[in-house]
Structures are given as structure tokens and as C-alpha cells.
Symmetry: C2
């Protein structure tokens, strides 16, 4: 793997380098691993809490509850309570949340394409250490 | 914002829902806010430690050191020590790291495009609470 030479980029420097920049605050929300996975899960259609929990292995109830609340808070997920007995609660992506699917899919595809290379690099690095 | 109806997705269900899936491990590395920002910073060309630190407001020395080490460990950043007096240390994206620029740019562009909507949603949510 070669380092790149100095190169001219054709994209503007993002304001993301600025302290307290709003984009940076949003990054905090959407670049959380569990948020990414929950958004994926809902990309296939609305689901009840238990359905999400069954679908995503290894997520604790505490983390799933916090993640859903955080996504709802930021307008990415809509929580709907249906007046049935017992009440049915369903989670769905909002239209705003839907717009995140493609960018997140690009990240997931990258992970899928390169994870062997990344893991090999990690193992080499760890084996170098005393 | 409307919730979407059940819809058929034309992408396969990612294995990212599976416990200990390798893609999920990689997500942990590349969806860290500071990793994203440091990769951006190096997307404009190799830099010395102090240059990165000056460029990214609000990053502590501890966090920057950990972030660079983590990116190096996973093969995304190359650390080169030049035999000068005093030694010059430079950080650059590897060719693997370069492949992450476009997906991460999509995420940053999303944040830039929608942060007002996300922040408004957050404020509405917080004002509802007792």
C-alpha cells in the first residue's frame, strides 16, 4: 500500500474541521455503529421493537432503546403507537431517514469489499508490537 | 415527514446484522467521528502531526494520537519517519484509505445538506419533554 503524493482535490475543504460546526454534530449521530445498523434494518420496512431486536444479533435492549430514541429525536425514525389492545408500536424511517440509506450503503459496501485487507493490516500491526 | 410504506428494496440484506460479522467490526473503525474527520484532513495531502492538529479544531492531543494510531493499525494511514534532524514524521492516506474518501464524502455532504432539518427535529423533540 503506497501513500499518495500531494494531490489537488476537486472538492472544497469541509467546514467539518471547525469546532462546534453543525455538520460535526450530525456526524456524531449518524456515524454511530448501532445507528447505522438500525437504519439499515428499517430500510427494509417498518418494524416493531421485538422484530428489530431479533433481526440485529448482539444488540442489548438498553442500546437498542437508546439508539431508537436518538434516531427519533433527530428526525430519522418515526415511532407510531397504534391504538390496539395491546397497543402496537412500530418504528419506520422518515423521509429524511430514507435519504441516508444510499450514503450508508456506500459505507457498508466499502466495509464488505475491504474488510479482509483491513483485518490483515490490523494483524500485521499487532504482530509488530513487542 | 412521512414514514415510508413497506417497500421492496433492491439491495440484499447485509450480513451486518450478524453478531461478530467482520463488516460490523470495520464499521466500528470507520464510523468514528474523529476518524472520519482525520481521513478528510489527509485527503488534501500528507501532513505532519502539528499540521493536522492545527487544522482540526477541538481535537485533543490524546484523541488525535489514538485516532492516527488506529487508522495506521487498520491500514488506512501510513506514518513515515524521515531521517532528518530533527526527524520529520508525516501521515498520509494509503491507497486503501483513499478508497474511503468518496463514501465518507457522501456522508459529509448529507450532513451539510440536512443538518438544519436534523437540528430542528432535535429541538422539537427536546421541547416536547416535560
Amino acid at each position: 500500500m503506497l501513500a499518495t503524493n500531494q494531490m489537488v482535490r476537486d472538492f472544497p475543504e469541509p467546514e467539518v474541521f471547525t469546532r462546534d460546526c453543525p455538520t460535526q454534530q450530525i456526524l456524531d449521530v449518524i456515524t454511530d455503529k448501532w445507528s447505522v445498523i438500525v437504519i439499515y434494518c428499517l430500510a427494509y420496512g417498518p418494524k416493531r421493537y421485538k422484530q428489530i431486536q431479533r433481526r440485529i444479533e448482539g444488540i442489548s435492549q438498553k442500546v437498542l432503546t437508546q439508539t431508537l430514541r436518538n434516531l427519533e429525536r433527530h428526525g430519522l425514525v418515526l415511532r407510531t403507537v397504534y391504538a390496539e389492545v395491546p397497543p402496537r408500536v412500530e418504528y419506520a424511517l422518515t423521509s429524511l431517514g430514507e435519504t441516508l440509506i444510499d450514503p450508508l450503503l456506500a459505507i457498508a459496501n466499502w466495509s464488505r469489499q475491504y474488510f479482509i485487507e483491513v483485518a490483515a493490516s490490523r494483524d500485521r500491526y499487532d504482530n509488530q508490537l513487542p
